[in-house]
Amino acid sequence: MDIPYTSKVRPDTGLYNGKLGVWLFLASEVMLFGGLFSAYTYLRIGAPPDTWPHGWMNVTLGTINTVLLALSAITTLLAWAALKTKQFGRYKLFGLLTILLACAFLGIKSYEYRDKLTHYQVQLNDGRVADGHLVENNKDADYILLRGHYAANATELLDGRAKGHPAHEELKIARADIKSLKNYGPALNNFLAIYFSITGLHAIHILGGIIVFAYLWGPGSKMWFTAPARFTNRVETAGLFWHFVDLVWIFVFPLFYLT
């Protein structure tokens, strides 16, 4: 017994099942990220004065990632178009490119994460703050090594857009002088908390996309020889999902990198 309209469109709705399914799924995704972006807005508007940081993200890396995703959007489209014009070889090429671009995106993203998670704010007993990357934190030693600079207080660090970065140097800080030691993880403040939440969920979506594309490129592509129309539809629905993931990034980028 067959389920109808798995590859042919139903005349009165103009859709095949998978396409409607993926559109519905994306509608729920819109609400999911909509909820998260509302939370971002709410937190940002409601943040006590002088607590919301600016310019903490690396705009260059963000821009590169934006370009990577934009290119991958084009390659997914080309991959699908190749199938539509029955050029399986071209599909393989563009499919592979999509996967590589997505992996590059994740590579850069994990570099950024690592950068944040090894970046520390050290509150000193004298009120000053040392800020920089942790070089050495040996439990037995009575000091830590940080590559960074001192600031009068944490508020001074909030605006990363300020010109003329203070020179970074190796700071040796005695443990006895340290009041608290915190990395730039979610617990530092709500900007980072929501940043990690949203970009983390986005990265999981990218990963999901990679898995789907890899399947459709590798083992799943056998279907091309048995049911080309259905396979083309699969590639199309995967592409729809991918474009949504790209679209989310178009919001993430300005909200976290440019403001």
Binding site: D2, N17, S28, A39
Partner: protein
């Protein structure tokens, strides 16, 4: 993959093994039954938790009879000598609400009834995505298991209500909250996948001739409910993820600056907002209550149409009303938050939308009521449940109005009045519809009727005891008794005797009455449970495939339906409720009946 259009594993002639057939089935009927058993088991468990809580409220500080020792074994310090501690009370309260809403009522409506009936009623051979359907059930089951597992971890399950309001939910020192959040993410994912399936099935797989306005009303309600789940659940998933981040990484998106826990400054950066959680939560949870009620209305409409032997009055108005209900229900969420100091302008907006959303509910109810007029009503067990739904839901809806106005809600908020209100809609409302639906479709699923006599015992008992339980709550709430107090308010009542705000004895006495009601309600469920199982073997056999003389498609196929529902694709010629149509020899004209047959006298 040589037959790309085929169902996976379908089409082979060998009988599938037990696992394939009953555990990893992709047949929507089996999955529906899986959902049915699982959700009813959860419902029973949720009810059991509540029984213990009602004991504690009526007899604060006294050991729970019969199972006191067992409680002490499982919960140790939280149930010393079998006495329910405030912590245990909070755990049970949180889990009762969570289980009832997310693991019992929603899955029974959309997972069980929705799965079993939607494909058959639209004339399809299965859901649009059978494998996804199986996965939805597995996600649901897994989420449920995570929830249940949290009973056995040190510190016990979540303790901050089914609403999980921070800061409380974040500062209670148990991993139960983490389990709750993880469980919720799975349950939500399951609902989302299920909704995609239901909507796609309704849009794409309708049989030839099954136009939109020939769909049974139940299908419409499932359609709207699926959209609500699809669009309103994700913000809660977002909120759940954020709370999980807060819980696991020590961030403070939901924790305000200057929070103190037990007198000491909390270990958090602050700057977050507990109100943000409430917005995200209620943005789901209000539409959610329409998920709890719409399919119930659909079930009731099917049963009523069949047992009045005439068309539903105002079928189209009901369809449009359910669409309006779905749309408006996403605009009212902050009526749960009047006490958060939102200001009069915003309060006015939400009061207005709340009043508007009650209009379509009243339209649906009125249509069903008018439909009864002049019908030759058959009072069988399903019909009794369906008929009773109407006044019970009306009580629930009407008690909602004073809650919808911020002025009166400031008094009633967080009292037993709210508990009374929503239980009227969900218990003698939705759950009665579920009971009615089980009695009504049981013959189709098993080929036998459930026992009428015990059905009526179940019905009358449930009706009486439900009201014994929930009616007093309305008075208690108006008298000022707060919800979620582990001693039922006795300390509060006594410490203020005579002073303004104290609770009269009569109000406190009601706690005992309610306990007896709960015990009674438990007892009258026994005949029901036995009836379900015994009737499978011993029930009266149906004489034909359409024992209720019904019109919709599920009755026009064999009993129980064949794996792919219909041996031949049905063709639909008419609307869903053509009963007593003049010119036909019988008083019902199935949807599949072409115009030229049966017209002879």
């Amino acid at each position: 993959m040589s037959q790309p259009e085929a169902h996976p594993s379908h089409g082979s002639h060998s009988e599938p093994g037990f696992l394939r057939k009953y555990v990893f089935s992709i047949d929507h009927k089996i999955i529906g039954i899986q959902y049915g058993y699982t959700s009813l088991a959860f419902m029973l468990f949720g009810f059991f938790l509540m029984g213990i809580m009602r004991w504690q409220i009526a007899h604060p500080g006294e050991a729970v009879p019969l199972i006191g020792n067992f409680l002490q074994t499982v919960f140790k310090d939280a149930a010393i000598n079998g006495v329910v501690s405030p912590d245990l009370y909070n755990m049970f309260g949180a889990m009762h609400g969570t289980i009832m809403v997310f693991l019992a009522v929603v899955p029974v409506l959309t997972g069980a009834f929705g799965n079993y009936l939607v494909p058959i009623q639209v004339g399809a051979s299965d859901m649009a995505f059978p494998r996804l359907n199986m996965m939805s059930y597995q996600f649901y089951l897994f989420g449920g298991i995570v929830m249940l597992a949290s009973f056995f971890i040190p510190g016990g399950p979540a303790q901050s209500g089914w609403t999980s309001y921070p800061p409380l939910s974040l500062i209670v020192p148990t991993d139960g909250q983490t389990y709750w959040l993880v469980g919720m993410v799975f349950i939500i994912t399951s609902s989302l996948l299920g909704s995609v399936n239901i909507i796609t099935t309704i849009v794409q797989l309708r049989a030839p001739g099954m136009t939109w306005l020939r769909l049974p009303f139940f299908i419409w309600t499932e359609f709207v409910a699926a959209f609500l789940l699809l669009l309103a659940f994700p913000p809660l998933e977002a909120a759940g993820l954020l709370q999980l981040v807060d819980k696991l990484t020590g961030s403070s998106m939901f924790l305000p600056t200057g929070l103190a826990v037990s007198g000491a400054a909390a270990h958090a950066a602050g700057g977050g907002s507990p109100i943000l959680w409430q917005h995200l939560f209620w943005f789901l949870a209000h539409p959610e209550v329409y998920v709890l009620i719409l399919p119930a209305m659909g079930i009731v409409a099917e049963i009523i149409a069949n047992n009045i032997r005439k068309p539903l009055w105002g079928y189209k108005s009901m369809v449009y009303a359910s669409l309006a209900l779905g749309f408006l229900s996403v605009l009212v969420w902050a009526h749960h938050m009047y006490l958060t100091g939102m200001g009069t302008v915003i309060a006015t907006f939400f009061q207005t939308t709340t009043m508007m959303v009650s209009v379509p509910s009243v339209i649906i109810l009125t249509c069903l009521l008018i439909s009864l007029w002049g019908g030759s009503i058959r009072f069988n067990t399903p019909m009794l449940f369906a008929l009773t739904f109407l006044p019970m839901f009306a009580i629930g809806g009407l008690t909602g109005l004073p809650l919808g106005f911020s002025a009166s809600d400031l008094h009633l908020h967080d009292t037993y009045y709210v508990i009374g209100h929503f239980h009227y809609v969900v218990a003698p409302g939705t759950i009665f519809a579920v009971f009615g639906g089980i009695y009504y479709w049981y013959p189709k699923m098993t080929g036998r009727f459930m026992n009428e006599f015990w059905g009526k015992v179940h019905f009358w008992g449930s009706l009486i005891f439900m009201n014994v339980i929930f009616m007093p709550m309305l008075s208690q709430g108006m008298a000022g008794m707060l919800r979620r107090m582990s001693d039922g308010g006795i300390n509060y009542a006594l410490s203020h005797t005579g002073a303004e705000g104290s609770l009269p004895n009569m109000i406190m006495e009601m706690n005992r009455v309610i306990l007896w009601g709960a015990i009674g309600l438990a007892i009258v469920q026994i005949p029901f449970i036995l009836n379900v199982f015994i009737s499978m073997r011993k029930g009266v056999k149906v004489a034909n495939d359409n024992p209720w003389d019904a019109t919709t498609l599920e009755w026009q196929t064999e009993t129980p339906p064949w794996v792919y529902n219909f041996r031949k694709e049905p063709v639909v010629h008419r609307g869903p409720y053509e009963y007593s149509v003049p010119g036909f020899s019988r008083d019902f004209t199935p949807q599949t009946e072409p115009d030229n047959v049966g017209a002879k006298h």
